[in-house]
Symmetry: C2
């Protein structure tokens, strides 16, 4: 299997900054691997970028994650729909999206690095949250597996569609003859925070910052 | 590899109606398969549910989709984050989510059924759109591969987390002692439609209906 984009090569993005932006924005990926008996195996997983690594975490009892920690090759798929693309025909109806896949072997991270990368995962959702809460305990760290997949020059591909529907063309079949077309932007927003019954004090700054990024 | 939920079994959902609701709401999945040389292979893909099938489509030139059409076992992963869960400690910080995986072998659909299922895919985004546009041409149908994965009694699992952060507990380490906790709902919205330069007439009813579902 190669690592090339064959379909719609014009949608390929090779600018690392665009990949970083997608990873920083979308904290949800699918981790795909191959099970010991050769079957496809996939789980949804929260991810965050920390420099040149994609960080994931889970329970030390999580099967697919343990398999990845043991050295099984993985693919991480991250995708988001940015707009519905409404064509004048069903064929030209589509979505604008950004997607990336990263492949390789992830490694388990322990010690101080584990603490730092777990902090990065939390702060990817809630900027500055680690300064608002107590440090992780030894027990909590022991129960949490942290894996990191390096981002290298050649282990990722990214595709982006970011345009209106194909030009309206009146073809021999009458397809595309007039009608409405355009895009409908899709956006993710964070609503008002709802405190837990035991919550003390005001909504923290980290939540306010997260909301600011999503409005 | 089994098809059981080992981690957080209390999050398992076995109600088919909940699966259908997730599939009807989230049109984006990851298709995972195993490449001919045994590597994990995954692509993001638009999906829609049509009765007891999950429908996907793509170009007849799309590699992973062709591999699936040839009978390779696949897993479809669909996941969405419904809320950020803010804990009083980093360890109790989490996300509320719904996720499902379906596994099996997809089959290629042709003829009248292909036309019907492509319509279902379009209408999953834009309810009623197929009544607003001309029918698909033979050329368009020939260029489009439609695959369907059956939903059976035992080929899917679903997990849901839908609650606040874990109870605040003051433990021996002082972790969780006071502070703020709660949830921040995450919502996807459709913004105002932007017409293409060639668009004629008003924004169609199908777009209005799609927006109504997402506000």
């Amino acid at each position: 299997m190669d690592n090339q984009i064959h379909r719609h090569p014009e949608r390929a993005v090779t600018d690392r900054a665009r990949l970083d932006q997608l990873l920083d924005e979308i904290g949800l990926a699918t981790l795909s691997t191959v099970s010991p008996d050769g079957e496809p195996w996939a789980i949804p997983i929260n991810v965050a970028r920390a420099g040149d690594r994609v960080v994931m975490h889970g329970s030390t009892g999580a099967g697919a994650l343990r398999h990845a920690a043991a050295g099984a090759p993985i693919v991480l798929t991250i995708a988001t729909v940015d707009a519905l693309v409404v064509g004048a025909t069903a064929f030209s109806t589509s979505v604008n999206y950004r997607s990336a896949s990263l492949r390789g072997v992830a490694t388990r991270v322990t010690g101080d690095e584990q603490v730092a990368l777990l902090g990065a995962l939390t702060e990817a959702f809630l900027p500055g949250r680690m300064g608002e809460v107590p440090g992780l305990t030894h027990k909590q760290l022991a129960a949490t597996m942290v894996l990191a997949l390096p981002i290298t020059a050649d282990n990722w591909i990214m595709k982006v569609r970011a345009m209106g529907p194909d030009e309206m063309v009146v073809d021999a079949d009458g397809g595309g003859a007039g009608g409405w077309g355009g895009i409908v932007p899709v956006r993710t927003v964070l609503d008002e925070a709802r405190p837990a019954p035991w919550a003390q004090g005001a909504v923290p700054e980290s939540v306010r910052l997260a909301q600011e990024r999503r409005r």
